[in-house]
Symmetry: C2
Subunit: 235 residues, 2 copies
DNA sequence: GAGAATTCATTTGTCAGACATTTAAAAGTC
DNA sequence: GACTTTTAAATGTCTGACAAATGAATTCTC
């Protein structure tokens, strides 16, 4: 805390104004020149502060007369993308064990399964069936299989029709993919997984939370077993 | 997409190198002068790019000889703080209904209740009991009551001893606080809530997932009722 | 020779000034 | 009135300069 950069201090000051609601969505900030007078720093410093805020999606800038920096409305879409990136990095940089990440993912997924049973649309079911079909294709690489797996589970989560849930879970579901990519899937294990996926989709179609829950738990155990085999084979 | 700022492009380029693992943790980036040569832009532009990355916690900078910009290790602690800020803003800026946020929060909390039953330590239980005690104090403001409620539920989540879960759920649990602050709690409703909190803590202590689950669901229904009353009273 | 003090080179942080570019409003033109 | 041109304001970029920090190398002291 000796000397946090001026640009960081200014960014913090403006950020707090936005978070507290003092500045509201689409409101225009003072121009760079005005800010540099207010804070008594050079324009360079103000600009670096604004870039920091822009990187956090808090503001957007527009050039030209009557342009400037405006408070951004946070969209679930953008926030989700950033959330996924961060989650992925967190997992890869903190050598989180496969088990830990896996447990978190399935716990969360089980939480939204009942809601998804209630609200899933034909669209969600169609996406799941399509991914199941893809997963059965011969010649699919392991990476593509994992990506399809993620899409399948994303459809399940989105079926709950709760944007807050989708946002929070996207991080847990997508960040798993790099960890999954370590696993080599045999034809037999792929079949076992797609069978369970089919049972999950059937359960959602029949709106039977118990069926979905049981299949999810079986899937969790099964894939965890696969991962353990890979890990012990390496040691 | 006409002309994304140069500094944004450069930031993107470096960000991709970090995310892909091309640059690893604690690795030093080239100096600003070198980067400005590599990318054929001025140092100002490079600096703005680096500030963007710093705002995302991807790098840190150090002054002096042998200083420079270094790839940051993502810590759960920092990521969680950023996640909470974003979640809070998302909820306040997108007029997410109380019901939607509430549903997401309880679904997620129910998901980690069984794990918390297994693993909660004496510390977690003590935190919960302390918060329950605080919630019973007369003269507590509604804001303080809400804050204590958040702490109680955070302890429950942390009891699952899964950092990935804690990270993901922190957003859902903490972001609720501003929404809760709209509610006025009568002495009777406070009592009802702390009673349910006590049942939850008892269930965790007895390691009885069913008790916890039932109490959580009752709590969800009860507080949702309170919120609905507030909302209809306003209309 | 060992340790302390100093110097030095490198790098980030900040500033001022300049110019380019973009943009919408205002003024001019027919 | 519709179209074009001008203009003012704002961000984007570059250059050059200096301040401040910092670790390494050097010099000095004993």
């Amino acid at each position: 805390m000796n000397s946090p950069d001026l640009s960081a201090q200014i960014a913090k000051s403006i950020r707090e104004a936005i978070v507290s609601g003092e500045l509201s969505v689409d409101e225009r900030l003072p121009s760079e020149a005005e800010l540099s007078e207010q804070f008594e720093v050079g324009r360079t410093t103000v600009r670096e502060a604004l870039k920091r805020l822009a990187a956090q999606n808090l503001i957007r800038t527009q050039r030209g007369a009557f342009g400037g920096a405006f408070v951004n409305k946070q969209s679930f879409e953008d926030a989700q993308a950033a959330h996924i990136t961060t989650s992925t990095l967190l997992l890869s940089m903190n050598d989180v064990s496969f088990d830990t990440a896996w447990e978190a993912r399935f716990a969360l997924e089980c939480a939204c399964a009942p809601l998804s049973c209630e609200r899933r649309t034909a669209d969600h079911l169609a996406t799941m069936r399509a991914e199941i079909h893809r997963q059965g294709q011969p010649g699919l690489t392991d990476e593509a299989f994992c990506a399809s797996d993620v899409s399948f589970h994303r459809a399940l989560v989105d079926g709950a029709a709760n944007p807050v849930l989708s946002y929070q879970l996207a991080g847990a579901v997508e960040a798993i993919e790099p960890l999954m990519n370590m696993i080599t899937f045999t034809a037999r294990s792929r079949e076992a997984i797609t069978d369970l996926h089919t049972r999950i989709a059937d359960g959602l179609e029949a709106q039977s939370p118990n069926t979905v829950d049981m299949a999810l738990r079986e899937l969790e155990d099964y894939t965890r077993g696969l991962a353990r085999a890979v890990i012990s084979a390496r040691a």
